[in-house]
């Protein structure tokens, strides 16, 4: 899995990531050997049902795993530097500067007690030696950048005075504050209603073209990701099922799970994060079956599936973890 694919050195190179939680005397493994890369200015979609480990993967990359969670194994190379095991002080110099994150619940991701402008300024001043006034001025410009009409006024608003969409614009502005090379968006539109979703996606799309930021877009909704990203990583049960160029994967999904995901996206738009077209439920991380995690729900399941399939590289550059290939 170290075979170099993309020509240029990737911004992010996640290798065999294992993220687990201690519980009592036991350990629950949630992310179980995830690898993917994000090239410079690339956009990668991380897709899976809730419980697939995609959000935790994003948080691991962001360096936000706290006790009792821990990264058991693997490397997270950001511009070639491994974030795993990096001292907290050093890590915090990277967080918000080289990589930033937009969270699921825009309103909750803002501290209700401070003006939003102050919260953006805080992100700026964490990495830049500027005065509060200058930081606020930068914040106003960022607000304009993300399409906030009355930026000067919104600066002095509290989160509860703003709509969910507006809050998400604010958090995006916050994430862009230090022009990071990589932006992780964790279900940025799930909590918003449909029209606002579209607006936010427009903002993100536009920013992508204007700034040269690489993007990791985490979502349960493959249709959203398909619109936003060039590459796709499909996760299930804490593992990568399939990955590759968006058009290839969407055009001819190989893994039965990917097929199911795409099928359900066609039948139900938006959704609950649960797949109506695939029978059964996402397995409990403590009761994860040996071998392929999808096997219990897979219509193509065979005895071989009891042992974990390797991530096979297909000729078109895709990878698939299934004994069918």
């Amino acid at each position: 899995m170290t075979a170099p694919a993309a020509a240029a050195a990737p911004v992010l190179d996640v290798r065999n990531l294992h993220t687990s939680f201690r519980r009592g005397r036991g350990v629950i493994k949630i992310v179980r050997g995830v690898s993917f890369r994000v090239g410079r200015s690339a956009s990668v979609g991380l897709v899976g049902e809730s419980g697939s480990g995609k959000s935790l993967t994003a948080l691991s990359v962001m360096g936000l795993i706290e006790k009792p969670g821990f990264i058991a194994e693997g490397q997270i190379l950001l511009n070639g530097r491994d974030l795993v095991g990096m001292p907290a002080a050093e890590l915090s110099k990277i967080q918000g500067r080289e990589l930033a994150m937009v969270f699921q619940e825009p309103t909750a991701a803002l501290n209700p007690l401070y003006h939003v402008g102050k919260q953006v300024a805080e992100a700026i001043r964490a990495h830049q030696d500027v005065s509060q006034a200058d930081a606020l001025d930068q914040a106003r410009k960022l607000f304009e950048l993300v399409g906030i009409a009355d930026a000067g006024h919104v600066l002095r608003q509290y989160p509860h005075q703003l709509s969910g969409g507006m809050c998400q614009r604010v958090t995006i502005a916050t994430a862009l504050a230090n022009e990071p090379g990589l932006l992780i968006l964790d279900e940025p539109t799930t909590a918003l209603d449909t029209t606002i979703q579209a607006q936010i996606l427009d903002v993100v799309g536009e920013l992508r073209t204007r700034l040269e930021t690489a993007i990791v877009f985490v979502s349960h909704d493959i249709s959203v990701v398909a619109e936003m990203c060039d590459e796709l990583v499909v996760m299930y049960g804490g593992q990568v099922m399939e990955s590759g160029r968006m058009d290839l994967v969407i055009g001819s999904p190989k893994h039965p799970y990917t097929q199911g995901l795409i099928g359900s996206a066609l039948s139900v738009s938006g959704g609950s994060g649960r797949l109506e077209s695939i029978p059964g439920e996402v397995p409990d991380p403590q009761g994860m079956p040996p071998g392929c995690p999808f096997a219990p729900r897979c219509s193509h399941a065979m005895p071989q599936c009891a042992t974990a399939p390797p991530l096979a590289a297909l000729p078109d550059g895709r990878t698939v973890a299934c004994w069918l290939y």
């Binding site: 809730s50 419980g51 962001m62 936000l64 795993i65 706290e66 006790k67 969670g69 403590q286």
Partner: protein, 301 residues
């Protein structure tokens, strides 16, 4: 990642687990942790209650038997907790005294619980003017600090154990009423209850079969929480001379008795107080565990 947590992280366990399809592990874990508390509570309570229940079996002398020759003996094998000024066995008095303190606290939660539950059910089921009046009265009683209300009631009724029980039970009434009213209000709105009403079930049937079971977890939690408070307050009133009257060996009253000879016989003060504290800690531990189990929305510890 191994350094101690100072600031909160993105995904402390609870959040991570919420994101999982099934949050059984969380409950299971807290059950496991709580189980320890629960067990500790049960053990403490047993240590306190078993001798109290056994009474004469564990104490060969009665609580009021005086013997000047045995005055102020320190704790020893012959006199487990020593003796007081009058040669009375502190062990015997603690063991018999528990019946008053614990018995009175139980009476408090039964009386206060029944009265408060009844009021809460009526208010929650009937709503309207009656419910409004009941709940405003409840708010008013809650505006008084608990022990102050109990003291006020004692002032009216006069000092005695029965009156102390009534006083502390009155403090409990609004607490129960509020919890039960909330639950009743919620349940009364559920479709199947409305359906039952439409089908002609009487209010008694609906309250008994539908509303009360819904309120039950809250009532149970409130009872364990209040039982400890009741014991503290009953003993406090006893200590102040507003509850049990001497020579009845209630724990608070015993502390009051013993303080006159504190520097000669610490044991006459320390043991009854320690038994009281152990009882209250035991009840609180169990109450916490029950609250976590029965009331998952509660803030926990």
């Amino acid at each position: 990642m191994d350094e101690p947590l100072l600031a909160g992280g993105a995904l402390p366990l609870e959040v991570a687990v919420v994101a999982l399809p099934d949050d059984k592990p969380a409950t299971r874990r807290s059950q496991l942790l709580r189980q320890k508390n629960f067990l500790a509570g049960v053990v403490l309570l047993c240590i306190v209650i078993i001798p109290v229940l056994l009474g004469p079996v564990v104490s060969s002398v009665g609580p009021d038997v005086q013997n000047p020759a045995l005055s102020f003996l320190p704790p020893s094998l012959g006199h487990l907790m020593g003796t007081d000024q009058y040669g009375r066995s502190i062990w015997a008095r603690v063991v018999y005294g528990g019946r008053y303190t614990i018995g009175a606290s139980l009476a408090v939660v039964v009386l206060g619980g029944i009265a408060g539950t009844a009021l809460g059910l009526v208010a929650g089921y009937l709503r309207g003017t009656v419910g409004f009046i009941i709940m405003r009265a409840v708010d008013l009683l809650l505006a008084f600090p608990g022990i102050l209300l109990a003291l006020g009631v004692t002032a009216i009724l006069g000092p005695s154990l029965v009156n102390a029980v009534i006083a502390v039970a009155i403090v409990a009434v609004p607490l129960y009423a509020r919890i039960v009213e909330g639950a009743a209000r919620e349940v009364a709105n559920l479709p199947y209850v409305r359906a039952a009403k439409a089908l002609g079930s009487g209010p008694g049937h609906i309250i008994w079969r539908h509303i009360l079971p819904g309120a039950l977890p809250g009532i149970i939690v409130q009872t364990t929480v209040y039982l400890g408070i009741a014991a503290l307050w009953i003993a406090s009133l006893g200590f102040l001379g507003l509850g049990v009257q001497p020579p009845t060996p209630e724990w608070g009253q015993m502390v009051s008795d013993g303080q006159a000879s504190l520097s000669i016989a610490w044991w006459a003060v320390v043991f009854p107080g320690a038994f009281l504290a152990a009882f209250v800690v035991g009840v609180s531990l169990i109450g916490d565990a029950l609250r976590d189990r029965l009331n998952p929305t509660g803030a926990g510890t």
